[in-house]
Amino acid sequence: MAEYFGTTVEDIFRTQDSRFRPEGAEGVDVVVAYNISGAGGGRWKLTVKDGASKTEKLKDDDFGGFTAKMSADAETFVGVAVGQLDGAAMFTSGKLKGEGDMSVLMKLPMMFTKYMPPKKGITAADILATAVERFRPDMAGDLDITVGYKLSGEGGGEWTAVIKDGKCALEEGLRDGLTVTNIASASDYVDLMLGKLDPLVAIGAGRLQLKGDMETAQKLPKLFSKFIPPEASSGPELIVLKKTISVDMKYSTGRMMGKFLKGLKEKKILANKCPECGRRQVPPREICAACVCRAEEFVEVGPEGVITMIEYVYYASPDPLTGETRETPYGVAIILLDGCEGNETMWHLLKSDELDSFKRGDRIRPVWAEERTGNLFDIKYFEKVR
């Protein structure tokens, strides 16, 4: 299997579900397709739903439906996953590509802990040395058994785990009359314990032989918690303090904006008019910036108008009012309301489920909120005049 930065694509997907963080995926219901090209690549599908994740390798080209899709070559994918390549830079330069709802891809780092490549050079002895601390007395009950490990090749050796009275001890050498004996090469044993080699495959291929009491042998995996390899470390730990600042704010609206917002409550859009040049300003500004004089006269404009520009927003930016990521795409329109002319435009949102049908020059009208509080969103959005 092709390795990049000492890791294979398989390593990352195989461990993905064990790295799932339900707290980072509350209310998430998505399917993510991964198309990884090049040596060691393939197609995977991730389903996150009801606080659980399922990662599966696909045998054919058909992803079926997906919410978002990520494509990359194997080296880029692994490099980003292990933190050796900057994900944002790879995305920007086009080496990592996204399709569909991009906000899903941006949420992935919240849903999974980062893949940590295991420390290089882990030996069978390293793993067995942790057997005593990984032993689970609650699962062993009153078992009284001896388990032998006969591991051949480089890093091999012979060990016996003695399990009795809810305790486990490890001895070098093989005792006589073992309940179960594991026979494998040391490197296959390490791969089995790191999850790189499937036990059923290993048994089927004769690479792992179990001798003795098979009923006990089947219990063995439950008697020990999973071996978690120490993380590969690169330099000293840099302590970074994480903080979230959340503050309730309130802003006085002032004389001009206050009057405008009161108008919205009454389903009226008010502009103020410059006494010198006649220019209307929506929303009203105290001073006409062109004439530098006070503009006190209010006139009602709209509520219908014409789209002069649509901004289709694909970037899932946070809503500054809630901190939540906005749903994309959405449309922001520059609007010339009836009664306004030239540059007297304003901006607001377009109805998102009709987004594809809007075009420049369309006549639109505001959709008013049922409960209006004197706020920009007393107009929910603009929709087409039919």
């Binding site: 520009m309 694909y314 970037y315 500054p320 901190g323």
Partner: protein
Amino acid sequence: MAANKKNRNVAIIGIGQTQYSSHREDVNQPEMINEAVKLALQDANLTKDDIDCFMHGNMELFEMVHQPDLWHVLGTGAYGCSEFRLTTGGTTGITLVCAADNLVASGMYDIVLAVGFEKLQEGHTTGGITNMADPLWGRMLQTGALTGTCAADVINEFGEDRARRAAMKHRIIMDQHASRNPNSHRSFGLEMDQLEDLMENSPRLVGDLRLIHMCSQSDGACALIFACEKKAKELSDKPVWIRDHVTTHREETLWMYPLDLSQKEEPTHRKAPRELFERNGIDKPVEYFDVFEMYDPSSWWGMDWIREFFLLEGDEHIRMVENEDIRIEGKMPICPSGGVVSANPIGATAMVRVAEAALQIRGDAGGHQVPGDVNHALASGFGGTLWTILVMLEKELDWE
């Protein structure tokens, strides 16, 4: 507009920049600032005791520290000395330059050190920028600094294919410039044969603004040292003179589209050069200047604004990009540093434009030095909500 009323001349005599990067967890804010300050002092062969006044600038909304100058005092070196703090959004760095120029020209201080910085990875850039808009209206609608209006304008005027190609060509040239600037944050190694692939496949952000077009979010700091004419001549053998600068802002043009230029509203990137060149008697800036370090927040803006900043007409600016005149070795080199699309530590970014333009005049830009004499340099700054600042730098004190 009053101009050229300087009490005395001012020169840049020290330049320091950190490496720009996507993450600097290895240093805290004052330590990172100190890297740039130390380099600027070394460059000017001065110590902190030679500085009469310090200036500090960033956008506090990004790191959410509201008196950062107090925490940073050991990094800036301002303890026991005068210090001012400025924050004007994207223009912060170049506003520091204008203010330092004014402080020294006024006679108040002989030598001023200004440092601009940002550690964008410590906060949330788009959130910070969005919260800069007025809270009654704009904040609810704005998407940080992202907008597709400029792309729409250019496409409208020059057609989809020509406009998209030119913007991407601009982007690739900037990437190739960045590859020659060791301080640059990003250089992807883009080649011209990727142009069509990027045009199609780079993820869209807003309208025709794609991810590859947009500036980065960087960590880094830049420091400059300013001196009055007398001190500059004593202390430096390569002073770079600040001839003039102009600051314009007009927020309402943000939501005016398409902007009818026959009306009263004038975009700031048009007003600033018109005023500056008029009062300095420069008819053909594209001939006058030897290099232009532009604050290009995206390749669309970077390409489009060439026209306004150089008082060009029609498609002259597009042709400059198509003919690759904007390359370091081209007829009118623009952003030899790689520009803002290649490194953007926001509070430093606009100062980096001046720093890089000054390095070009000194002939000290190394691998991205413009060939031949650089006597006249232009630097611009841009920020929300639609501020434009221009600074003119000169090699010789010979203008009237």
